[in-house]
Structure formats: structure tokens, C-alpha cells
């Protein structure tokens, strides 16, 4: 008795097995979605004081859980570092990855993964001290730049300055925290990094008001959720959960008005809220659940990184295609 107890204890603690192919069945059986998120990136995936995960990337996990399980809170978050993220997905430790991951050909083509869409169009930008008095990156000839070493940021910066016939002096640092300290102590006139990060770095300054983020974006960094290759049904579910959030914004459906709009006469809303579930292997309430429990894309954006958050990132590229951005989801019909 004692022996089997201890043995059971050890096995329970160490191994748990999941089948690979039918991710949808596995998730339904487990009653919980295993979602890989970042170990901490403000606005995208970060834990609050109660240990609840919040953020734009987290909302994609929640949307999928709402669509599949009918409950956005049934997510088991697996915080992953940049190096482990793909292994965790390949080995089946997680069902999907939503961790500010840039969609590139190499990753899509050679890692056995599929990118299910884009939930944030990021790009490299610049932050300068206000005292410098510039309003465009093109006026930065001869500036000293703080960069994090060994990232693609360095390469993009060199290309951009070369293309515009400008000179710069690079001052490299190891981590983003050191980079911002370097900027703060006045060792450089500007700091370059992905725009989403610039805004949170700016808040880290002792005097945030002394710096501004310039409008220029010099690289393409489309971030999106990732699934394993070879499970098309699951791929579709993740892709369309995200698309449902974007389409909901377009159709003016929000978590607040979804209840009234359910009986709307608008055919587009009617198509979106009824009858499409079974094509994905889900029940008919899938999209309504997403909108009710997570909200549309705009709600998620404003709450996590936009005007409702300390980051105050503008919509920019992430505005809907109809409002000057490039956020575009194929129609649900």
C-alpha cells in the first residue's frame, strides 16, 4: 500500500501524458487550455497582485478558452522564456503559444509551427529626450543611440541610418533595463527598441515627461499566436477566435452590448453570432462567448496597452483597416 502510494505520488508529480493529434479533444477533455505566455511583458502578458494573468497576448488565450470551453477563465498559463517557447509547443507542453512572437518565414517554415494570425503589429521605433527638440527620426543625424546588444534592432538601425545617409554613434547595453538607465543618465540622445517596449520603458524613467516616442517605425514585427503544425482544426479555431475579436470591433459588438445585439437584424451580426460554430467543431455560442467574456479587439487593446492602461499606446498600425490601420480580419460568413 505504502509503496504504491509513493510510486503514484512520484508519477503524478513528474509525468503527465497527452495525445498529440486532436488538440481540440484534448483541451475539451482536460477542461482547461494550456497557453504559453511570456514570463512578464507589461501590457502583453503580466500577472497582477492576485496572480491573475492580464494583457493583450493573454486575451488571445482567454478568447480561445471562451470559444472552446465556454469559459475564458479556464486557462492554465505557462510562462515561458524566449528560448523555451517553441520547444514547449513542439513537445505538447502547451496547446498554443501567445507570447509576443514575431511571425517570420523561418519560424513558420522550419520549426513545425503555424502562425494563426497577427494580434499586434509591432515595429522598431525611437524614443528621444524632449530637450533634443526633434519630431522626426530623420533629424537625428550624428545622434548617440542606446541599443540592446545582439538583437535585430541593431541591424535595423544600421540599415535605416545608412539608407537615409545619416551617421550615428551606437552605445550598446546588455539588457533593456540597462539600456533605459543609459538613456536616463544622458549617455545617448535616443533609444531604439520595438515600439511596444518603448512605451513601457518610458514609464520606467524617473521623469517620463522628459522623453517622447517618435512616430517613425522602421521595421516589421507582426506578433501573433502560434500553434503546432498538422492540426488544421485547432489552427482554424485559434485563427478565428482572434478574427472574431477583430470582426466584433468592426461590427460594433462589445462585451457590454452583446446581450442586446444578439437579436439584431443586421445580417452580418446575425451571421457572426449564430450558426458558424460547427464548421470549427465548436458550439454556436463560440463567438458570443468570446465577445462577452473577453471583449472585442478594441476593448482588449485599450484595456491592456491603450488609453485604459499606463502605457497609452496609440492604435497606429493596429487600428482597423477602415480607420487608417492595417488590422483586417476576413469576414465570418
Amino acid at each position: 500500500m505504502k509503496k504504491s502510494f509513493l510510486l503514484g505520488l512520484a508519477t503524478a508529480a513528474i509525468f503527465s501524458t497527452t495525445a498529440q493529434a486532436g488538440t481540440l479533444e484534448d483541451v475539451k477533455k482536460a477542461g482547461v487550455l494550456k497557453c504559453g505566455v511570456s514570463t512578464g511583458l507589461g501590457g502583453f502578458s503580466a500577472a497582477d497582485d492576485k496572480g491573475n494573468w492580464k494583457g493583450l497576448d493573454v486575451d488571445v488565450c482567454r478568447a480561445v478558452a471562451a470559444a472552446v470551453l465556454g469559459d475564458a477563465s479556464k486557462v492554465k498559463y505557462n510562462p515561458l522564456t524566449a528560448k523555451e517557447r517553441f520547444t514547449a509547443l513542439q513537445s505538447g507542453e502547451i496547446d498554443m503559444l501567445s507570447r509576443n512572437t514575431t511571425w517570420t518565414l523561418t519560424r513558420d517554415g522550419s520549426l513545425g509551427l503555424n502562425f494563426a494570425g497577427v494580434n499586434y503589429y509591432d515595429g522598431q521605433g525611437f524614443m528621444v529626450t524632449k530637450a533634443l527638440g526633434v519630431d522626426s527620426a530623420l533629424k537625428l543625424d550624428g545622434a548617440a543611440v542606446c541599443i540592446q546588444a545582439g538583437t535585430t534592432t541593431e541591424l535595423n538601425l544600421a540599415d535605416y541610418f545608412k539608407a537615409n545617409n545619416m551617421k550615428y554613434k551606437a552605445i550598446t547595453f546588455d539588457t533593456s533595463d540597462q539600456t533605459i538607465k543609459g538613456f536616463e543618465s544622458g549617455r545617448c540622445d535616443m533609444l531604439t527598441s520595438d515600439q511596444s517596449q518603448l512605451y513601457s520603458l518610458r514609464i520606467k524613467l524617473a521623469k517620463p515627461d522628459t522623453a517622447i516616442v517618435l512616430p517613425e517605425v522602421i521595421s516589421k514585427e507582426p506578433l501573433g499566436p502560434v500553434v503546432r503544425q498538422g492540426d488544421d482544426q485547432w489552427f482554424n479555431i485559434v485563427r478565428w477566435s482572434l478574427n472574431a475579436m477583430i470582426n466584433a470591433e468592426e461590427l460594433g459588438l462589445t462585451s457590454k452590448n452583446i446581450k442586446e445585439k444578439k437579436d439584431s437584424k443586421d445580417p452580418a451580426i446575425g451571421r457572426m453570432l449564430g450558426g458558424q460554430g460547427e464548421k470549427l467543431g465548436l458550439d454556436d455560442n463560440w463567438s458570443a462567448n468570446i465577445i462577452e467574456q473577453v471583449g472585442n479587439y478594441s476593448e482588449s487593446f485599450e484595456r491592456n496597452v491603450g488609453s485604459g492602461s499606463p502605457l497609452k499606446i496609440g492604435r497606429g498600425l493596429n487600428a482597423l483597416w477602415s480607420k487608417g490601420g492595417i488590422m483586417y480580419a476576413p469576414p465570418i460568413r
Binding site: 503527465s16 514570463t39 507589461g42 497582477d48 492576485k50 528560448k83 524613467l205 521623469k207
Partner: protein, 373 residues
């Protein structure tokens, strides 16, 4: 002729050879160079210490409900430290994501460990060996069941939710316990006269000592899952712990081997002459003496292990430092209080390491049998 029959009373020492002034003269202003350096050091201390105290204590904000209380109205930081960043999230720093209503379980395990360990510090406690054995063999299972749950109606708390100082202590205690056990066995194996045992021990020790811990952790978390059959997942914490134990065992083995070599051959021969078997001679004669000799080396290894546990941050486990750096550091509501977090983490680590080293010194004195000189 004048002969005195009284001894003259002792005069006080000249004023320049005693007291504070004398001490200053001898220790601080002894020659032009020392005077110069003293002044320089005093100037540096004056430049560093008062601002540091002002930052850490006088101007500090200790409690606040939101980060805005640590900031001026225009969003700039106040001059003092914002300890509210720590006090506000203290529970999370201690327990990570461990559910609030279940936190009595790790607390209970901790209290049990402390209560069980205290009698070991007193010389008169009867049956110390049994108590020690209980702590080393039975207690880990009790603690594991308590903290993880799943039996006796306790709710399962997945290892992914363990974190903070709790996780740091769990990893280091488990690491120390098993590393000491395996390390001792490996050290005996390396000095064994049996060729297979000996070469296996040598290969094991040299292999694990030859790779950096960070590599071991990466292998365990990034590579290992790819080698396992598809769909099999293996608890991340267990993987990290096994890696740390294997790594530290190799170090402990070499420290213990140093102790074994320091024991005079006469002791081995005397034990053999008494007719003691190998294990008896080791456990009754050699190891007690050897272990006593290597206390400083062992404690050194354990302090290093305790600090190395912070490396689990790179495989996404939230130990004390990772909670402060990643979890608290990325919460939008409290951005920009990085320095306070690091100072606090440094303080906690220093406190543990310092007490460990003081304890080891006390242990050395207690076990000292006068072979020191």
C-alpha cells in the same frame, strides 16, 4: 641612602598611547599615505552613505495602494525609495502564484521543519539520529504532500504555481539534501578500490563539474522534452531540480573527497583492525571526522547553490528574483521600481547566506576536537 619600601603607584599611560586618539593615530593616520587614504575613504563614505540612508529610509514611501503615491503629480518619481512596491506585493514575493487560501500548507510545512530542526541544535536532545533521519527521509514526503496536495482531500497545487521565496527555499533545501547524500556516495565511490565503481564516479563527477549550471538547466528545459516520446511532458520543476542535484552532487563529492583524504591512514587501518566492515568503518570512524573537516567547504558549496537557484529564472520558473524581476517588474501598475526590487532581493539573499555562514562557524566550534593546530 634612601630605600623606599613602597611600590610607586601605577601612572596612567601617556595620553598619546591609549584611548580613541591613539587608536586613530595608529590605525588611520599612520604616515602620510594612510592619512591621505583615510581622508579619501571618509570623503567617499560621506558622499555615499548619507544619500543612501536618505533614499532608503528618510525619503522612502513604505506603504501605498498604488504607484502614484510614489510619484509626484506630473508623473516624475519621488526622490526616496518606493518600498510600497515590495510591501504591496509581499505575499506574491513569498509564495509566487500559490493560491491565497492554500498558503497555510507551505507555512505549516515550514513551521514543522523549523520545530523539528530546533532540537538538533541542543546537545542534550535524546535520539538525535532518529530525529535527523526523520527530517531527512520522512519529512520531505510530508512536505511534498502538504505543498503539492492531491492526497487526504488537499487540493492539488500544480508546481507551476509555486514561486517566490518559497520556491527558492524548496529548490535549495532539496538540492542541499540530495547533493549531500549523492555527493558523499560519489566521494566514497571515487576513493573505492573497485575499478567500475571508481571509474563511474570519476566520469560522473568530471562530466557534471565540467558543464555550467545554466547549460544543465537549458538542456533540461529546452532539449530534454524533444527527446522524450511525443506528447509526454515532464514537470518543469522536477527537471530543474534533478539538474541542480546532479550538478551540485559533483561539487559536494569533491569537497567530501578532500575531507576523506585528510584523514590519516592510521584511522582507516585502526578501523579495519577493529574488524569493522567497510560501511561500518566509513560511517562510524571516517565520515564523522571527514565531514567535520569539510564544513567550511560544504557551506561554501551550499551558499553557492542557494544563490545559483536564481538561474531557474531563465527556464521560466519564478523564484524570488524572477518574481521581482519578471512578475512585479512587468506589471503596468508598478513600472519603474526596478532598483527597489533588486535591493530587496539582495537583502533577502544576504540574510540567508550570512546566517548560514554564522551557523557553520558555530557548528565548527561545537564539533572542534582540538585538531586544529
Amino acid at each position: 641612602m634612601y630605600v623606599t619600601d613602597k611600590i610607586l603607584p601605577e601612572l596612567p599611560a601617556p595620553s598619546n598611547s591609549k584611548g580613541l586618539i591613539h587608536w586613530f593615530k595608529v590605525n588611520l593616520f599612520n604616515g602620510p599615505f594612510n592619512t591621505l587614504f583615510t581622508l579619501l575613504a571618509a570623503f567617499l563614505l560621506y558622499k555615499i552613505i548619507p544619500p543612501a540612508i536618505e533614499w532608503a529610509f528618510i525619503d522612502a514611501t513604505w506603504f501605498a495602494d498604488s504607484s502614484s503615491e510614489c510619484k509626484l503629480e506630473n508623473g516624475d518619481r519621488k526622490d526616496g525609495a518606493c518600498w510600497a512596491f515590495i510591501t504591496n506585493r509581499f505575499d506574491q514575493i513569498m509564495y509566487g502564484f500559490y493560491p491565497e487560501e492554500e498558503r497555510w500548507r507551505p507555512n505549516l510545512a515550514g513551521i514543522m521543519l523549523v520545530l523539528l530542526t530546533i532540537p538538533l541544535f541542543f546537545k542534550k536532545t535524546p535520539k538525535k539520529a532518529w530525529l535527523g533521519g526523520f527530517i531527512l527521509v520522512i519529512f520531505p514526503f510530508i512536505a511534498f504532500v502538504l505543498i503539492r496536495g492531491g492526497y487526504f482531500g488537499l487540493e492539488v497545487v500544480d508546481t507551476g504555481k509555486w514561486g517566490g521565496l518559497m520556491l527558492t527555499l524548496i529548490i535549495s533545501l532539496v538540492g542541499i539534501l540530495f547533493a549531500l547524500l549523492f555527493g558523499t556516495i560519489l566521494a566514497l565511490g571515487r576513493r573505492s578500490s573497485m575499478p567500475i565503481v571508481k571509474s563511474l564516479s570519476v566520469v560522473f563527477i568530471e562530466f557534471w563539474r565540467g558543464v555550467p549550471l545554466i547549460t544543465v538547466l537549458f538542456m533540461s528545459s529546452v532539449m530534454l522534452p524533444l527527446f522524450l516520446p511525443e506528447g509526454t511532458t515532464f514537470d518543469k520543476l522536477a527537471r530543474a531540480m534533478i539538474g541542480i542535484i546532479l550538478f551540485q552532487s559533483a561539487y559536494v563529492a569533491e569537497v567530501v573527497r578532500g575531507g576523506l583524504q585528510a584523514i590519516p591512514k592510521g584511522q582507516y587501518e585502526a578501523a579495519a583492525a577493529m574488524g569493522l566492515s567497510y560501511w561500518k568503518s566509513m560511517f562510524l570512524v571516517i565520515l564523522p571526522q571527514a565531514m567535520k573537516l569539510v564544513i567550511p567547504g560544504l557551506v561554501n558549496t551550499f551558499i553557492a547553490l542557494f544563490k545559483d537557484t536564481t538561474l531557474v529564472l531563465i527556464i521560466g520558473l519564478f523564484d524570488l528574483l524572477a518574481i521581482i524581476e519578471n512578475v512585479l517588474g512587468s506589471d503596468n501598475a508598478w513600472l519603474g521600481f526596478h532598483t527597489e526590487g533588486l535591493v530587496f532581493a539582495a537583502f533577502v539573499f544576504w540574510m540567508f547566506c550570512f546566517s548560514l555562514s554564522r551557523y557553520s562557524m558555530a557548528l565548527e566550534r561545537q564539533l572542534d576536537t582540538g585538531h586544529r593546530n
